[in-house]
């Protein structure tokens, strides 16, 4: 009996699966539910009102998102006659899956037994996987056969070209400092107070704004802007599929936040992974997730204080400010590597 139980536990805790399902999907989903609630409550706080409340007065309306989820789940899913059915349904699914896949390349600990897929190019692999999901947002806009959706998709396409370069360059500057593309090496190099946010603030700023750009966060909520293109690519989606789309956007932001936490905020530092599953795997991943959640909270606070830029202005910012900033960050990384700060 105990053998079977052990086997089950072993399968569940098999790092790639554990990483994908628990660290990539379940916990981030919980975080997303919390973040959405937090976003609405902070906005309400800034705006001198209450925000969601009566659904569960005891926990300040914390169940609001569950109620919304229940409604979305059991609402009619309308598939208009004019859409291209297969991509219309598959695109949001693919976007959802692709936005959590990068997590299999991100190590949450320095213990080799708990690496998901051990490779020395994890930084590059995770970055490459992260940049895939926007393609499916364009696809879903295209498949919707709606003018607003097509415009939304095109805006997304413009933004991809703008932010990918910036984000990738900014993240790669960490590789320049450490001389390694292995995320474990990068985290190890940040021991003590040598977090890359301090060593290389330029790259961090570029990465931070790049994430805002890529996940349609304010002030760059352009592709899904309500007031010109009515939620952009998602105009025609209803019910659960729409919920999936929204979830995918937030999950993507969560994974990006995890990346920033690992690359710039010292990963599991200052904690040093110990022996065993709990001390060696669970605690470091919790440290990373907490850092990522704090980042998410900062992102969502922007909604309350900023409007949105125009598309051409956002592209201006990306190409004229962020791109040089990212290049400078990369150069700074090389300089630090040359000086041997690490």
């Amino acid at each position: 009996m105990s053998g079977i139980l052990d086997a089950i536990i072993k399968i569940i805790t098999w790092p790639p699966l554990w990483q994908l399902v628990v660290l990539g999907l379940l916990i981030p989903l919980g975080v997303v539910v919390f973040i959405l609630w937090f976003e609405r409550k902070t906005a309400a706080r800034v705006q001198r009102r209450i925000g969601p409340y009566h659904v569960s007065p005891k926990i300040a309306g914390g169940l609001q998102l569950i109620a919304d989820l229940m409604r979305y789940m059991f609402q009619e899913v309308i598939i208009p006659k004019t859409v291209d059915k297969f991509p219309f349904i598959v695109a949001p699914l693919a976007a959802l899956i692709l936005s959590i896949v990068p997590v299999v390349a991100i190590p949450f600990t320095s213990i080799e037994a708990y690496f998901p897929i051990d490779m020395s190019y994890s930084l590059i692999i995770s970055l490459a996987l992260l940049t895939l999901s926007p393609l499916f947002i364009i696809l879903s806009g295209w498949a919707s056969n709606n003018k607003f959706s097509v415009i939304g998709g095109m805006r997304e396409a413009y933004l991809i070209t703008a932010y990918e370069l910036v984000a990738v360059l900014a993240f790669l500057s960490a590789g320049a400092i450490t001389g390694s593309f292995n995320l474990v090496d990068i985290v190890e190099a940040q021991s003590g107070v040598k977090w890359f946010i301090i060593l290389n603030p330029l790259a961090f700023a570029a990465a931070f704004i790049g994430v805002l750009l890529s996940t349609s966060g304010f002030p760059f909520e352009i592709a899904e802007s309500e007031h010109e293109v009515v939620a952009g690519a998602f105009t025609e989606y209803s019910g659960l599929v729409y919920g999936m789309n929204m979830g995918a956007a937030y999950l993507k932001r969560m994974i990006f936040s995890i990346m920033i936490a690992v690359v710039f905020l010292g990963g599991w530092q200052p904690y040093t992974p110990g022996e065993g599953f709990i001390a060696g795997y669970l605690v470091p991943s919790i440290v990373i997730l907490i850092k990522a959640t704090v980042l998410m909270m900062i992102f969502s606070f922007f909604r309350a204080v900023y409007g949105r830029y125009r598309l051409d202005q956002a592209l201006d910012i990306a190409w004229k400010i962020l791109f040089p900033l990212a290049v400078l960050g990369f150069g700074l990384g090389l300089l630090e590597a040359y000086l041997g700060i690490i």
């Binding site: 609405r40 309400a44 409340y53 309306g61 229940m70 009619e76 309308i78 209803s238």
Partner: protein
């Protein structure tokens, strides 16, 4: 054993692999046997998202009802952008003949289960514009669940109407019955769409 397909005919026959029958069974299982119905009603009641469709001047008080003073978001209602993602339409005052077509099209685009609140005296029976040649009554266009009297109604009464609708959904189990018994057969509209939208282009 009587097995019917989704349309209620085909008595006494067993359809193997009939998707309507399976869907019907699954709905029954989820809603009645697993007692998910209550959860669905609860979720729907606290997630009434009205659509951005301002038909007339009651929109001022509609906007005020979501302002910090009255903050209807505390009831879980959040004005949302597109018809596909919402489930509530609040008709704010007079509906002109030109707007009536838009109201009907928006209503048809919303996913079931959906609800309608008619706001203001004009939405009841014309109000101050009762003898105008360019208006229709909202009940002629959409099936209305709750009426709010007043010209314009105060924001408190908008909040009250949302609470009343929540009560109605939870007591009469409107949402779960929609799901269990198939989608609500839409009430017959008083004015057919051809009459409303004969002039519409685009």
């Amino acid at each position: 054993m009587m097995i019917m397909d989704g349309n209620g005919n085909g008595e006494g026959k067993v359809y193997v692999g009939n998707i309507n029958v399976s869907a019907r069974k699954a709905r029954k299982l989820l809603m009645s046997d697993l007692k998910l119905g209550k959860l669905v009603d609860w979720g729907t009641a606290f997630s009434l998202w009205p659509i951005h469709l301002t038909t007339s001047c009651c929109g001022c008080e509609f906007a005020a009802a979501w302002s910090p003073r009255y903050d209807n978001e505390q009831h879980g209602a959040l004005p949302w952008i597109g018809p596909r993602q919402t489930n509530l339409i609040i008709i704010e005052g007079t509906v002109t003949k030109k707007m009536a077509c838009a109201v009907r099209i928006v209503w048809e685009q919303m996913p079931q289960p959906k609800f309608a609140i008619a706001m203001g005296a004009c939405a009841l029976d014309g109000g101050i514009f009762y003898n105008s040649y360019n208006i229709v009554r909202p009940w002629q266009i959409v099936p209305v669940d709750v009426y709010i009297p007043g010209c314009p109604p105060r924001p408190e009464s908008v909040a009250k109407s949302i609470i009343m609708l929540q009560k109605k959904i939870r007591e009469k189990q409107v949402a779960s019955k929609f799901i269990e018994e198939g989608w609500r057969p839409d009430k017959e509209y008083v004015i057919p769409k051809e009459d409303l939208c004969s002039w519409w282009r685009g």
